[in-house]
């Protein structure tokens, strides 16, 4: 295998670095390439990425002597990446940020939101050394964490989280009529992936029962509840 002697890890390098490179080259280990390829594929494609993709990325890594930009280029051009939407579960941080962005919330940096992340199992800046926050869903998807997610979704929709605020009227104000008429529109608006039939049916039925028991007075009670349920739905947990 030939390589450009003036480059190492994708950079031009001095003669000292070249000596180091040669030493590293001598100890270059195929399992390093596979390890890094697996990590990247896991991050961007799936918790259990296709072996064929991992092998290809590892090949690129080895052939380029660790030029990560080439590995990324291959990864993002791959059909596996193109098909990866909704393959992964959001980490708590991803979930919270995506929900805040979905409703266009402003956030003043108050601490309670950090507390929320801790309850979901991902305390800010406290990744376990040396492996860091884990990339696979099994680290995040557990009963306690899920309850914390649902509570966050409901509080956010009610605008009752300290330091967090969104304009309910502008997000929900134009949703009129029966929930079945506007639920899909709201779902599109907050970027929930297409709702499964069962989720949709469940939410509509709940809102209908709600509407019967107490007629909404300010007109947005059902919309807020729908929003909370959507952000807490299984669909919204997917990346």
């Amino acid at each position: 295998m030939q390589m450009d002697h003036a480059r190492f890890w994708g950079r031009r390098c001095s003669s000292t670095a070249e000596r180091w490179r040669d030493r590293l080259k001598a100890s270059w280990c195929p399992s390093t390439a596979r390890f890094i390829a697996t990590k990247l594929a896991q991050k961007f494609v799936s918790d259990e990425p296709p072996q064929s993709l991992v092998e290809r990325l590892a090949g690129t890594f080895s052939a380029s002597y660790g030029d990560l930009s080439r590995v990324y280029a291959d990864l993002f051009a791959s059909p596996e990446f193109a098909a990866s939407a909704e393959q992964k579960t959001k980490t708590p941080l991803e979930f919270v940020l995506s929900a805040l962005r979905a409703v266009g919330a402003s956030y003043d940096g108050s601490k309670p939101l950090a507390k929320v992340l801790e309850q979901m199992g991902q305390p800010l800046y406290q990744a376990e050394a040396p492996t860091g926050y884990r990339e696979v869903a099994s680290a995040w998807v557990n009963a306690g964490g899920l309850v914390a997610r649902l509570n966050f979704a409901l509080s956010l929709a009610e605008n009752s989280l300290e330091g967090v605020h969104f304009e309910q009227a502008s997000l929900l104000g134009d949703l009129e009529g029966a929930p079945a008429d506007w639920l899909d529109r709201l779902a599109m608006r907050v970027l929930v992936p297409p709702l499964s039939e069962s989720t949709r049916r469940t939410i509509v039925a709940t809102l209908a029962r709600e509407a019967e028991t107490k007629p909404p007075d300010d007109g947005l009670v059902l919309q807020r509840q729908a929003l909370g349920l959507l952000l807490g739905s299984p669909e919204f947990q997917r990346q």
Partner: protein, 422 residues
């Protein structure tokens, strides 16, 4: 210390044929639910030499001229003498003394993991994975213990579903809980375990919570993703079970006062869970603040006071139920024998474990104590480890849970036959 003395000490300490725990009668094989095991992980490396003080060793006092806890009778902050003459209890642990004297609580000294690391992370990893550092595993050994024991448990638990007992893969009972915000490494793995800081955290809150909670339950029952679906079912089952705990929420027994601290709150909640009888067999929690590089005496005074009050309140609060419970504390490693230049001690090796509860043959400091002379110290500076933490846990799992074979729980570990004769 001569070898003769050492053998005498072994006999005195009750190691050998006596064992640490009386055999448990509630055996898993009979289908009876496992007796509750409660584990407190003391993170940050608790100084065992201050908690259970070797006041019989002159080397202790010469290594710590300013920090050593004085021998019994030497002033107000002297250690409390324990029968046997060699060890004393830190005065801040006074609430535990009565339990010790009644034989309901004992210590294991010069105990730890065999890994020679002085990194908190690495040592906790070795401790919690139960590997002794020989291999890396993602799951914790207490989680594996749940699964291993589950193989023997035929009967469903009190409030659970029939299917969960055999596989341990469903969260339908509150079999294992961690009273802290994150599931600790020691409890991670295939068997289900719940983590929550407060009983009230495990419920869907807010207006119309009941209706909305029901909706979430239905949505997740139909979720395509298996992991999401099973966690959600665990969450709603747990919510229902914890609802029972919350409504019963026994206030502490008369005269029992938990300290107003994190550990106090956590121990109180474990007591509530055990009293509510919702199937908890394993509860884990943790305490912190033990990394006493500076101002060790002040920090330990506060930390050990809090710990002793919390643990004592816990055992008192349980009342007769305490007879069924085994409470174990463990820390990742001990601290240097010598004091440092900033009124503290640094990362060391061996430390102390505490074991308490009904089946415990307490009233002893179990140890293979060789003294603190420089030539017996680990790397000439730290308390050597003469008993592996896994020996203690293997013993507890065997005696308390009736776990016959610990090879899956503690892979590659052969329990010390001298200690296993109990």
């Amino acid at each position: 210390m001569s070898s003769f003395d050492r053998r005498a000490w072994l006999r005195l300490a009750g190691i050998g044929a006596l064992g640490w725990l009386a055999p448990s009668l509630a055996r898993a094989e009979t289908g009876v639910r496992r007796k509750p095991l409660v584990v407190v992980v003391q993170r940050g490396a608790l100084d065992g030499l201050s908690w259970v003080v070797p006041h019989g060793d002159d080397a202790y006092y010469s290594a710590r001229p300013q920090l050593a806890v004085p021998a019994p009778g030497r002033g107000a902050d002297a250690c409390l003498p324990l029968p046997g003459g060699r060890f004393g209890l830190h005065p801040a642990s006074q609430p535990l003394l009565a339990l010790y004297l009644e034989g309901r609580l004992g210590f294991v000294h010069a105990v730890g993991t065999p890994a020679a690391t002085r990194s908190h992370f690495d040592a906790q990893d070795v401790l919690e994975s139960g590997t002794g550092g020989a291999s890396s595993r993602d799951d914790g050994f207490l989680n594996r213990a749940l699964r291993s024991a589950a193989l023997h448990t035929a009967a469903p638990q009190a409030a659970g579903t029939a299917s969960s007992a055999a596989t341990g893969s469903s969260a339908a009972t509150l079999g294992a809980v961690a009273i802290q915000s994150r599931l600790p490494r020691i409890l991670r793995g295939d068997a289900s375990a719940l983590a929550f800081e407060k009983l009230t955290d495990m419920r869907v809150r807010g207006p119309a919570a009941k209706l909305v909670g029901k909706t979430f339950e239905e949505m997740y029952a139909g979720a395509v993703d298996e992991a999401l679906r099973s966690s959600a079912s665990g969450a709603f089952d747990a919510d229902a079970l914890l609802g029972r705990v919350r409504t019963r929420a026994p206030s502490p027994r008369d005269g029992v006062v938990y300290p107003k601290s994190t550990l106090g709150r956590r121990m109180r909640q474990i007591a509530q869970l055990l009293q509510a009888d919702v199937g908890v067999e394993l509860a884990v929690t943790e305490s912190g603040g033990w990394d006493t590089h500076v101002d060790q005496n002040g920090r330990l005074q506060r930390g050990l006071t809090d710990q002793a009050q919390a643990l004592r309140a816990f055992l008192d609060d349980l009342g007769p139920l305490a007879q069924e419970v085994c409470l174990v504390t463990v820390t990742e490693f001990g601290r240097t024998v010598a004091q440092n230049g900033s009124g503290g001690t640094d990362h060391g090796h061996g430390s102390v474990m505490m074991v308490a509860g009904g089946g415990v043959r307490g009233g002893a400091v179990h140890s293979r104590w060789d003294g603190l002379e420089r030539d017996v110290l680990f790397e000439q500076r730290d308390l050597p480890i003469t008993i592996d933490q896994r020996d203690v846990f293997a013993h507890v799992l065997r005696q308390h849970w009736g776990l016959g074979d610990t090879s899956l729980v503690l892979p590659g570990f052969a329990a010390d036959p001298l200690l296993a004769l109990g």
